[in-house]
Amino acid sequence: MLWEVDVFPRDPADDHVARALVAAAVELGFADCTSARTATGWLVEGELSRADVERLARDVFADPVTETFTAAAVGAAELCTAAAGLPTVIHVLPRAGVTDPAGESARDGCSLVGPRPVAVRSVRKYWLPALAEAAARRLAWSLLASEAIHDVILGPLAIDTLAGGRRWDYVRETTDLERLDDEGLARLSRDRCLALSIAELHAVRDHFRGLGRPPAEIELETIAQTWSEHCCHKTLTSAVDHVGPAGVAHYDNLLKETVFAATQRVRAALGPADWCVSVFRDNSGVVRFDGDHDVCVKVETHNHPSAIEPYGGAATGLGGVIRDVLGTGLGAKPVASLDVFCVAPPDTPRDSLPPGVIHPRRLLAGVVAGVRDYGNRMGIPTIAGAVAFHPGYLGNPLVFCGTVGIMPRGGSDAAVQPGDLVVVAGGRTGRDGIHGATFSSIELTSASESQSGGAVQIGHAIHEKTLTDFVLEASRQRLFHAITDCGAGGLSSAVGEMGATLGATVDLDRVPLKYEGLSATEVWISEAQERMVLAVAPADWEALARVAAAEGVEATAIGTFTGSGRIELRWQGAEAGVLDCHFLHEGRPRQRLASTYVRPTAEAARWATSGMSVGTALERVLALPDVASKAWIVRQYDHEVQGTSVVKPLLGPGAGPADGTMIRGVLGRPRGIVLGVGLRHRLGPLDPYEMAAGAIVEAIANVVAAGADPGRIALLDNFCWGEVRRPESLGTLVEACRACHDLAVALAAPFVSGKDSLNNVFAWTDAAGTARELSIPPTLLATALGQIADVARAVTPDLKAVGHRIAIVGATRQELAGSQAEAVGLVAGGEVPRVDAAAFRAACAAVAAAQQAGLVRACHDVSDGGLAAAVAEMAIAGGTGARLDLGAVPGATAASSADQSDFVTAFAETPGRFVCAVDADDATAFEARMAGVPWAWIGAVLAAPVLELVAVDGGVEQIPLARLARAWRTPAGGDA
C-alpha cells in the first residue's frame, strides 16, 4: 500500500518556501501568483494501516510544535486541498533512479518506529492560484524543478508503487570495428558517447585485430573512460609545436615540459630542503607540514554537470574533491574547502538566453546551495573562494571545488600488493552519472540537458561523512594498502588506476546496487557518488569489515588485485571482458599538435571620465559584481566548523573581505594553513600569458598578505579553456602553460597538482536558424597553499588604529586593460597588466620580513579595482577612515592630464602590490625592511569615518565610509 504524508508549517506565516516562490513567480511575470502554500510530502510504501501511517507522521515526519500533517492513501482528494483560492497543485519529485537522500533518511527514521520496513520517497508540493496547465508547467520548470533530476506532476498523484527496476540478464555485446569505415567509427563514438578520435579507434581496432576477436561493449567503454580527456589530459600531454611571441618551441609533452618541469627545477634547487612529498602522482598534491603531518590539496572542476543541474553538479563536485583528499596516500582528513564560480553577469536579459541555458542568477543560487548543503553537512569549513562574471560563461559556467587534507607523515606511501582484495565501500551503485568522464570531454549543446540526463549525479553528504569516518578509522588502524575514490569513470577508472600494473579480477555482480536492472557495463562505469575503492590484505578484511559496520558503512569485496597484468571482468562467474593493462594505459596513440599565438597589439587607453570624481568612480567599482561583497554566499557556508578558524573570509569589526584565509592545521598547535586563489579571467582574451601569470601572482599575494612564508607556497593549476582544436586557440593554452612554468620557477613556488577542463564551448541554433557558438574566455584558476609557523602572527587587512601610517609596496604602472575601471566604463583599451616576477618576489620578501618583525598591523593585496578599492576595503573592514595620497604612489607614469593620472593611480591593476598599515613608532624599522623595493608612504588611518582622496594636484575629496560600505555590500550576483 502506498501512503502519502504531507507536512505543513502550523502557521502559514512560517511558510518561507511559499514566500520565496511568490516573489520569484511575480518576477517571472506571473502577476496573479500572489499567494501560495507548500508542503513537504513523503510517499511511504509498506504493509501499513492508516493508524501506522499516522503514527509515523507524528513520530517521524511532523514536529508537534511547529507543524501539522495530512496522511492518506496516495491519490486521495484530501491530499490536494490546502487552502481556499489555491486550486493548482504541483508535485515535484525525484525521477526514478535519482538519489533521494531525504527519502533514504526518512526510511531509516521509520525503521526506528516500526512496525514494518517501508520504502520512502520525498516529494515537494505546491498550491497556487488558478493557472492554465501550460503556465503551471512553465512555472514549475522555471522555479521548482530541474529537468535533469525531477518529474513534475500536476494534480493528484497516480502512482501505486515505489518499486522500480527489473533484473538484468547477462548478454555479451560486441562491436565489430572491422566492418566500420572512418565515418562509421565517428558515428559509433558519437552515438555511444565514447569521445574517442578516429586515430584512437584505429588503435583499438588494431589491438583487437591482434587478439582475433571484436571488443565487447564493456571493453570499449573501459578504453573510452581511460582515454578520456577528463582522465588522461590528452591535449595537455600532447606533443606541441608552438610559435609564439617568445619564439618557436617544441614540446614532446606540453604539461611535463612546462608545469611539471618547473616543479622539478624548484625541487632540485631546494635540494635537501625540498618540502614536496608527492606531486602530480596521487589524487592530490602532498607537501610537508609539521614534524609529524603532511598537508595535501586538490582543486577540481565540475563544469558540465553544473551547467545542467547546478545544485547537484556543485554538490557532487565538492563531494568528488573531498574524496580525492580522502583517497590520497593512506587517507587524509579533509580540513578545509574552497569554491570558485565563473558565471555570466547577473543582469543578463532573460530573453537573450540560448535554449537550454539556465539564467546566471538561478545558476549561481543553485551552485551556492549545492556547496552549502554538501560542505556544511560534511563538517568541512568552506573558507575560501571567489565569484567571477563574464558573458562568455553563459553556456559554460565554471565550478571549481577544492579541498585541503592533513595526514600523518609517511601516510602518502600507498602500494597495492598482489593478492589484495578489491573492496568497494560507501554508497550503492545506480545508474547515476553514466558517461560523466566522456561527457565532460565534449562540447555542450542546447540538447545536452535531455541527452545527458543520465550523466547528472546527486550527492548524499551523509553517506560521504560516514564513509570519511570509516576511512579515517581504517587508515588509523592501517587496514588497507591503497585507496582511491570512484570519480569520473566509476569503478573502471578506480580499479583500472589501482591495478594499472598488477591487474585485477572483478566480479561485477557482487557490487551492491541501489536497484535492480543495471547491466555489467553500467555497474562498471556508473559514477554513483560516495564510493571509495580500497586494496585490502585478506588478513585485514575481517577487521576492516568490523570498522565499516561500526560506522554504518557498506563495504564489499568484489575482486582481487592479481598480478596478471590484465583487468578481468566477470558476471556470475562468466567472463564479461578482459583488458590488457599495458594497452589500456600505454596504447593510446599520441598526437602532435600545431599551435600559434600572436599577441594583439595594445590600443591606447581611451578615457570616459567626463567630470566624474575618483570617489564616485570608486563607489561604482566597489558595487561591480567581481568586486562587491560575497557575504550572501559566505554567510551560507559554515567556515568555522572543526574549530580551526584563524583568518575568516569576512573579518574585522566591519566584516570586510580577507585575502588569504587561515586555519590551524591541528587543534591545539600553532602551525597554520593559508589558502588563496587568483583569477584574472578578464585578461584571458587579451593576453593568456599575463592572465595566467596574474592569477598566480594574485593567489600568492593573497597568502603572503596574511602572513604565509613566501618560501613555502605550493600552487595548483586549473585550466578551463574553450575550443583548443585549432592551432591559434591551442596557442592561448600553450602561452598559459609557459606562464605557469616561468612564474613557478621565478617565485620558487612549485605546482603540486592540477586539472584541466577543455572544449568549454556552447553550441546552439538561434531563433533566426543560425548556428551559434559561445566560448568561455581562457581561464586559469591558480590556488596557493601557504603555511605560517604560528597563527598568532597572522596579519589581516582591516585597519586597526587611528594614526597608523599606510604604505604601498610595489610599483604602479599605467595598466588598465581588462580592469574593473574598464568594466565600469571609465576607460577602454590601454596596456595589459604585466607581471614582473623578480620585483614581485622582492616585494613578497620585504613584506614577509616586515611581518616577521611584527611591524605590519594590516596588509591587503591590490587586485580587482586597484589601489583605491584595496584601501576602501581595508577601511570598511576596520570600520575606520583613511587618507590616500594619490600623488605619493610610486611608479605611475604621467598620463595625459593630471586628472587621468589620479584615475590611473587609483584604478590601475598592476599585479603584485601590497598595502600595509604600520604603527607610526615602527615607521623607521619598516622603512629599513623595504630597502631595494619600490614603495612609499601613501596615507594614514583617520578618526573620521571617511575615505579622504588627495589628488595629484593636491585637491581633496572626502567620501563617507558608509557610502563606500553600502556600495560594496551590493550583493554580487545574488538575491541577498
Binding site: D63, V65, A550
Partner: protein, 254 residues
C-alpha cells in the same frame, strides 16, 4: 582528584565532535567520542562519565528536520540509559544539533504531564542557513554551565535555530521559571538575533539547571584567535568566551 570524564555522543552526520572533545580537554576533562550505535549496544559506556554532550552537526542528514532521527533513536533505544544518567546527577550539554536533539527528546523542555516537547527549533525566519557571530547575554539562574557569564560573543551556524514555544503562555511560564537562560543581545549594529527566535532565546535548561542546550557554538571560541576581529585587538594567547561553559561543567562535577 580524577579528571571528569565526558562522553561525546555522535551519530552519522555529527561533525563537531572532535573540537567539542578538544574544548572539554582544554577545560580539564577527559573526553571520549562514542558512536550512538556503540552506546545503544553498551549503555554502560556512560557509567564512568559525569558529563554527556551531544555536539553539533547534521545527524542523519537532518533531511526531515534537524535532529529528528537522532532524537527518535535516543527515545526508542536509549531512554532508560539517559534517564539513569540524569537521575544520578550527570550533566548534559547539547550544542546546535545537540540542542535540537535534546528539545525533541523531551529531556530539556517537556510538558510535565505528557512529556511532549514544549518548544521547537524551527527554520530560521530568513529561510536559510546562516553562519555569523552573535552577541549573547546569559541569565544563568541555576544553569550550571552559564555561571559567572554575562554578555559575550559566539558564532552560530544553523538553518533551523528559531526557538518557538508551543504557546505564548508556555513561553511565559518557561521565562518566569528562569529556564530561558541564554538570549541574543544587541551589538553596535542592533539586535544580533540571527533566526527570529521568540524572546531572542539562544539557549535553555531543564528545571535542575544540569541539562542545557544552546544554538551557538561555544567550542568555536575557546581561544582568542577564533574571533573574527582578534588580529591586532585581542591577545592571541587569551581564552575565548566559550571556554567558560566547558570549565563550568568540568568544575561542577570535579
Amino acid at each position: 582528584m580524577l579528571a571528569p570524564r565526558i562522553l561525546i555522543l555522535r551519530a552519522p552526520g555529527t561533525n563537531c565532535d572532535h573540537e567539542t572533545a578538544h574544548a572539554f580537554e582544554r577545560a580539564g576533562g577527559i573526553a571520549r567520542r562514542v558512536h550512538v550505535r556503540a552506546f545503544a549496544a553498551t549503555p554502560a559506556l556512560a557509567d564512568d562519565c559525569q558529563i554527556l554532550c551531544i555536539p553539533g552537526g547534521f545527524s542523519y542528514g537532518d533531511d526531515i528536520a534537524s535532529g529528528r532521527i537522532f532524537a527518535l533513536e535516543l527515545k526508542t533505544r536509549l531512554a532508560d540509559a539517559l534517564a539513569r544518567f540524569r537521575d544520578r546527577g550527570g550533566l548534559v550539554l547539547g550544542i546546535c544539533n545537540g540542542f535540537q536533539v535534546l528539545v525533541q527528546t523531551g529531556l530539556l523542555l517537556a510538558d510535565p504531564v505528557t512529556a511532549a516537547p514544549l518548544a521547537a527549533l524551527a527554520h530560521n525566519a530568513s529561510g536559510r542557513f546562516v553562519s555569523r557571530w552573535v552577541t549573547l547575554r546569559a541569565e544563568p539562574a541555576n544553569c550550571v554551565f552559564l555561571q559567572g557569564l554575562g554578555e559575550f560573543e559566539l558564532p552560530v551556524a544553523h538553518g533551523e535555530g528559531r526557538f518557538v514555544a508551543r504557546s505564548a503562555a508556555e513561553f511565559a511560564a518557561l521565562d518566569a521559571a528562569g529556564r530561558l537562560v541564554l538570549r541574543y543581545a544587541a551589538d553596535a549594529g542592533g539586535s544580533t538575533n540571527p533566526n527570529g527566535a521568540t524572546g531572542d532565546v539562544a539557549g535553555a535548561c531543564d528545571p535542575t539547571g544540569r541539562i542545557f542546550g544552546l544554538m551557538p557554538h561555544p567550542e568555536r571560541f575557546i581561544e582568542a584567535t577564533q574571533h573574527p576581529a582578534w588580529s591586532g585587538r585581542l591577545d592571541p594567547a587569551a581564552a575565548g568566551a566559550g571556554l567558560a561553559i566547558f570549565v563550568n561543567a568540568v568544575r561542577a562535577v570535579a
